[in-house]
Amino acid sequence: MATPAIAAHAPPRLSLRALRVVLGVAGVVVAIGVWWLLSRLLAHGGGVINRLPPPLAVFYELVHYARGDLWRDLVFSLRVFAIGWGVGVVLATVTGLVLGRSQLLGDIFLPIVEAIRPVSSIVWVPLSIVWFGFGLTSKVFLVGLAVYLVVIVYAIDGSRRVPPDLERTATMLGMNEWQRFVSLVLPGTLTEVLIGSRVALMAGWGTVIVAELVAADSGLGAHLIGVEQSYDVPAVMAAMICFGLAGFVMNAAFSFVERRLTPWRHDHATETS
């Protein structure tokens, strides 16, 4: 077989698309097969992992959950997520614009933001519970913080990166400060914020999970802890799949919206989340 670089240039013998689908399906089938085999092998007490249900059991559990409380739990989790995400994005945009455009304020406060940023919002979970209790507020605070810490970087970056050409054109056209802000700075910032908001999706969703696992009173995370405490492994795995599916759907939906709103952008740097 040739090296990938050369193979990429050679005309494909079999339709590449068909090959991809066939191999992809084969990969999934093999993965599920290995899972099933492992569950058979470990069914009668095989070392540490003696609680691996077969794939079908998890699937039944998923169907059962989908017919029951899934939607109520999902709505709880999504509400926490949506409120926190919205608050985080708005606050990050405003502070990003202020800190990005004002040299003095940026110099004073950016190092503090930079010092807090690497500390994930997950670390704030216990403090948030002390402050806000187990209810909606503490989770919204955590998700908002997670989203804020991601988006603020994009907002600052966008507010500072006005193309010099446009800056000169604006001067030539005799635009005043406000006009410049509205037609140069704001659109650039909002474009970056849009990208940041998508990158923040997974950070925010992960925070929802941890917050609900720790302060387990409602939502998918509370359900997950509930079935964990009753040693119901198939239900635990079904709940995990629900988390994954919800994250996937949100990510796909947001990518779609983002591509519609900013068709001129290439999607290279935004995939890592």
Binding site: M1, T3, P4, A5, I6, A7, A8, L19, R20, L23, G24, V25, A26, G27, V28, V30, A31, V48, I49, R51, L104, D107, I108, F109, P111, I112, P118, V119, S120, I122, V123, V125, P126, L127, I129, V130, W131, W205, G206, I209, V210, L213, V214, L224, I225, E228, Y231, V233, V236, M237, A239, M240, I241, F243, G244, L245, G247, F248, N251, T272
Partner: protein
Amino acid sequence: MTSTQAISRRVLLPAIGVAMVLAIWEATVVFYKLPAIVLPSPFAVVATLVDLVQTSAFWRDVGVSLYEFVVGYAIGVALGVAVGMLVGERPMFRMAATPVIESLRFIVPFAWIPLTILWFGTSYAGKIALVAYAVFFVMVVSTARAIAQVEPTLSRVGTMLGMGPWRLAWKVHLRAAAPMLASAARAAAAIGWIAVVAAEYIGASAGLGLMITNAATSLTTSVVIAGMIVIGVVGAGVSALIGAASRAWLDYR
């Protein structure tokens, strides 16, 4: 003149910012007469930190968390780079593995925490597995992408020099991809460290995550905040260490 300006921008103004935040924090505590349960003063937090550092229990928690992180991280990076290279080098393998990797990637590590507790109890093994899982996916995706972006000319030169595909992958592609792998390794460290802390919230017998959840339940808020600072500092230290190590390694090569 410019150097004094630079000093004022780099040192003085950030110092003013920190001082302002601390002053507002202290003023809020004094003005609203907040009890220490809600928000201890910055001085109380520093005092708690000083006390903590002198206890052996604290160092045990730090050690446990770091141990879980280091072992899980090493496993995750090794497996992640290996599988990522397979995905990057072998188009057939990539097509077969991509749907599985992508769908597992969406189950974020935190969602695995309850399952790791059922499987491994509150032992270290559960956290190690969790960190390895979290790090693995970061490394697989970045390695595959880095390999795919290697300059095709390099591969052709290697082939011309008579290298087989495995030698080419090992001697040429991996080295060309090294800078991207180094930055991925840093990102993975941050994620892995948080995974340890989160896992310790929910089921652990020791560790920094357990320390601050216990402090939160007993409403000793100063310990919670001190613990958060320690977690942040250790995380930053680990990240800096990995950054320095990978830079030294890249320079050496």
